[in-house]
Amino acid sequence: MKLDRICKQYGDAIILDNIEFEVTKGEILSLVGPNGSGKSTLLKIISKLIEPDSGVLKLFGEEVPDHDPEVMKKIGVLFDHNAHWDNMTGYENAWFFFRSYGLSKIATKTKLEELLKWAGLWEKKDQAVRTYSYGMRRKLAIIEILAHDPQLLLLDEPAMGLDYSSRLALYGLIDDITKRGKSVIFSTNDVAEAALLAHEVLLLNQGKIIATGTPDALISSLQLSTKIEVKLANPIPLNGIENIENVQGLGIDTTVTDCFKIDILTGSGKTVLPELIRKIFDENGIIQGIEMKQPTLGDVFLKFTGENHAVTS
């Protein structure tokens, strides 16, 4: 899937501005951005629900017409809503979508049972969807887009409303899907989710791509420092620690009274930590606890969206 200079405008408001990216087989791409950054519009353009004002969208290597059944058979779209026919049961709703994707009655029955059990909805399958909680509706919507084993999954905030275990199950499922050569594009506000799942992250703000790359590359591009917090039972001299290679800053946290706490800033936490521990032992320090606060994709997000970032640069 490839987007080339996609633009979308409503009146004077620019929703998407020259969006370009590509997703290859087996790749997970995450669209991360604040509310109103254009993530959902972008997913709807890729789903062919919204016409861009300009630019080229290629799906499976070619420009495709709207509502082409052969193309739609290869795509699964999860919206940011869970629209269902509320008076019908979960089973009936899912049955409709499975059959509409061209599955036979036997295949529908087998696959639906398997997926409903996976989602923990089997026991409630004969209840009207209006009785379902938000999370249950979300799970049902997820099941419905998996019916036809799509080549490309477009997921708009897939984990929204899901409990923790369901989120983990969803992440596992997305991972499995991509291992089988399928591609996934998902939007999220949760940068931790993007960092956990995505091979490639695309940061959107006010309709523009402000940064793109793997989560690790984005984090290291900011050259943010890692903060190591060490709690000691007894005070020690800090001269030795100051001289450790890659230590950028050192300070005593005077707000803590029950122990001697030192904060160390470094560009490379992994290399500094063993040396730091050795030095503390050399000075007869008794370690009560060590916490390493590494920069996250959240810091990248905050940095690029114009907010202050949590870890000192």
Binding site: Y10, K44, S47, L49, I50, E51, D66, H67, P69, E70, V71, M72, K73, I75, V77, F79, H81, A83, H84, W85, N87, M88, Y91, E92, W95, F96, F97, R99, S100, Y101, G102, K105, H148
Partner: protein, 231 residues
Amino acid sequence: MLLPHNLFHKEVIENIKNRKSIIMKFLVPLVLLSPVAFINMPAYVKSGILAFMILFLGVFGSSVRIVRLREQKITERLAVLPIKPSILIMHYILANSLVDSLQLLPPMLLIFILGIPGIAAIAWVLMLYVLAVFAANMIGVIIALVAGSSAEVHLYAMIVTLGIAVMSGSFFTLPGILNFIGLFSPFRSFSDSLLFSWGDINVIYFTIAPIPIMLLVFLVIIVSGKFFKFK
């Protein structure tokens, strides 16, 4: 268990499943229209009332329902199915036409039979009845396309329903060219078929009845893609 294999099944099943709604759907037309069978009034008024009921129920039923689907965002979900929009819309119209036909059938038969019909005309009346219901549903769908919200759809449906009822000339004869145009109305064809079966008129232009239906089908197919495009 009845399971929906496509949108046609889904619409029919959803109508059947809601018992309260289905009772109301059958009871209301029966209660409203039964007096027409027994009250002494000119035959053209009786046939006109039946034609108007078909128009009213079909237009309002399908337009309001489809706008609700759009507001509930179900149309977004349908739009990403590997099914052509024209097929989805036709499934929707056919299913709702079937339900409407069944819904109006009891009072229609009551009025029709009490009017002592000529047996040979029964097939014509039934065929034109089904075509009128189908046309009303297609008009409703087209209105829904233009309307932005439930409130708008009510307004447009009211204007269109009254406009068509007048233009059909079922209740009174229109002058000159307007009367000729009225002959193309599927609702006029239906009301005329009733009058013909009761022996109240001698000539009926059955042959032109499929023309507006074909035009409506063509129009619906042309515009169906717009239902599944979003802003």
